[in-house]
């Protein structure tokens, strides 16, 4: 049982300036089943604690009792908003551990589809974040664009959300017939849509007063906590796994890593919007260079990495998602450990929230872009 360490110093609530308030786990603005215990002075947050674990499914333990090929669908259920990126970590870890040569076409398709997934994840983040703050219109617009991406996923993988997109050694299927046309159409329409969001939000005085200066965190603090992804880049640290340790076909792509200046909610918003533009650039280049050929490597009868351990990570939409895999030479892993970006990003919540109002806690939880499926695993 989780012990709540926060309690008021007064014995009674009468004449007490302090109050303990439970936010969640059913609160819609906590993006899932997160319980935040707030200690308030009036409406100002003095202290807070997070209670997690409501969505624990024991995915790491389940992995120890499955074959290597069977584990990929469970990874989709960590960060279900970005199932395609999550699946990629697992298959790349196993492939690199076995030294499987994955064909270049598979690498390029992986790049295109994970970037599409990044756009979809950022769009859903924008939709819910704006809704939390009070802009309902953006929700409808962002979900409209996300729907187009999900339709591409449905045609390519056969599912919209938990796609089970990749197999060890490549992909289950080659790109469907109209894949190039559909993706082209999406990336051609997308910049216009992005400008619409910016028209409604970027200069809006309500949006500015709710986001500028809220949840500030400096670059050093962000590194000390271990933040990654847009939450780190918003604080001005240009760290991106796609640049520093390129995987899939990112080494051949030309793109910029956007960084913020102040590390507040508004900067993280700008960084995420710019990231979707860069994703669009990457998709554009990858479609142009898309090579022909097979999409699957030749697999042995049983996928069996050699005994040893291996760590591999990719840049997911939420941050660096990693997999630490210990194999003992059998057909099942000995231990699987996930490096969940949402869980580590959530640790910054206290530092960001203290001193702000309760209404800003909602904005800060939104800007961290957490998914509880990944935090609780």
């Amino acid at each position: 049982m989780h012990q709540v360490e926060i309690a008021t110093t007064q014995e009674t609530l009468l004449d007490s300036p302090e109050m303990v308030l439970n936010m969640g786990p059913q609160h819609p603005s906590t993006h899932g089943v997160l319980r935040v215990i707030l200690k308030l002075d009036g409406e100002t947050v003095i202290d807070l604690d997070c209670d997690i674990g409501y969505l624990h499914r024991g995915m790491e333990k389940i992995s120890e009792n499955r074959f290597y090929t069977q584990i990929a669908p469970y990874w989709d259920r960590l960060d279900y908003i970005a199932a395609v990126s999550n699946g990629l970590v697992w298959v790349e870890t196993v492939e690199q551990m076995m030294g499987l040569p994955v064909p270049p076409r598979a690498h390029y398709l992986r790049t295109i589809l994970t970037e599409l997934n990044r756009i979809a994840s950022h769009l859903l983040w924008l939709a819910t974040h704006a809704l939390d703050i009070g802009a309902v219109t953006v929700l409808l617009w962002a979900l409209r664009e996300r729907e187009e991406i999900l339709k591409i996923f449905e045609r390519q993988f056969g599912a919209r959300l938990t796609c089970h997109a990749w197999r060890v050694g490549g992909m289950p299927n080659d790109a469907y017939d109209d894949f190039n046309k559909d993706v082209r159409q999406f990336i051609n329409n997308f910049p216009k849509r992005l400008d619409e969001y910016e028209t409604v939000l970027s200069e809006n005085r309500i949006w500015l007063s709710r986001t500028v200066g809220i949840g500030m965190i400096s670059g050093e603090d962000a590194i000390a906590i271990g933040l990654s992804g847009p939450a780190l880049r918003g604080s001005g640290v240009a760290w991106d796994v796609r640049k520093s340790r390129p995987y899939a076909a990112y080494a051949d792509m030309d793109f910029d890593v956007p960084v913020g200046e102040n590390g507040d909610t508004y900067d993280r918003y700008l960084v995420r919007l710019e990231e979707t533009r860069q994703s669009r650039r990457i998709i554009d280049q990858a479609l142009e260079k898309l090579p022909d050929g097979p999409v699957n490597a030749k697999l042995p009868k049983v996928v069996k990495p050699p005994a040893g351990d291996y760590y591999h990570s990719i840049e997911g939409p939420k941050g660096e998602i990693g997999c630490y895999l210990v194999a003992d030479g059998t057909a099942q892993p000995w231990r699987v450990r996930v490096r969940p970006p949402s869980f580590i990003n959530l640790q910054a919540l206290k530092q960001m929230c203290v001193g702000h109002l309760v209404a800003d806690v909602v904005a800060i939880i939104g800007t961290l872009d957490i998914v509880l499926g990944e935090i609780d695993r």
Binding site: R66, T69, Q70, I71, A72, P73, Y74, T137, K151, E154, R155, Q156, F157, G158, A159, T162, H164, P172, N173, Y176, E196, T199, V200, L201, E203, N204, R205, V212, G213, M216, N262, V354, G355, H356
Partner: protein
């Protein structure tokens, strides 16, 4: 305490703010969308309606969609294609498939022989996560995840499909549109 550091607005920005340019721009865009929806011919169900009219109109799902399972039959002889090899049950991560074979006596070139054929096939759709690993494992293209997506039933037992249900498929209610 809070490190609020709002950037100082310039004079032009102040003027824009005073005349509410930011709000008018945003409201103008939403108004444009509202008016545009009335005359938009690309809307899903006619003018101004963007939602799918489910269940009157069912969506067209992709050919690769992972939906309700089905056991395919030979289109000419109507014998099952399943050879009871059990590969789908081994491939399933959730262990929701049971293949129950039986032995029959056949004669090959005048000699009596025993052959393993399919007796019963149990598929627990309540545990299935539609990863399609079973479909990929099937050597005869017998087990297939189809485009049917309406799997709700009134009881827990209704989720366990037997061979007959897997071969015939479920009946769905049709609504007049």
């Amino acid at each position: 305490m809070a490190l609020v550091k709002t950037p100082k607005p310039t004079f032009a920005q102040k003027l824009k703010r005073f005349f509410m340019i930011d709000l008018i721009k945003g409201l103008g865009l939403t108004l444009k969308f509202n008016l545009g929806a009335l005359t938009d011919k690309d809307a899903v169900a006619g003018h101004g309606i963007y939602t799918e009219q489910y269940p009157k109109v069912r969506p067209d799902v992709a050919p690769r969609f992972h939906g309700a399972p089905r056991l395919n039959m030979d289109p000419e002889t109507h014998d099952t294609l399943c050879i009871a090899c059990n590969l789908c049950a081994i491939a399933c991560p959730e262990d929701c498939i049971d293949v129950i074979p039986m032995d029959i006596e056949i004669t090959v070139a005048g000699k009596p022989r025993r052959k393993k054929v399919l007796d019963e096939f149990i598929f627990d759709t309540s545990r299935c996560m539609f990863c399609a690993l079973c479909q990929e494992a099937c050597p005869t293209y017998c087990l297939e995840l189809t485009q049917d997506f309406e799997l709700a039933t009134y009881s827990r037992a209704g989720f366990v499909w037997n061979r007959e249900m897997l071969e015939q498929g479920r009946e769905t209610v049709k609504y007049r549109s």
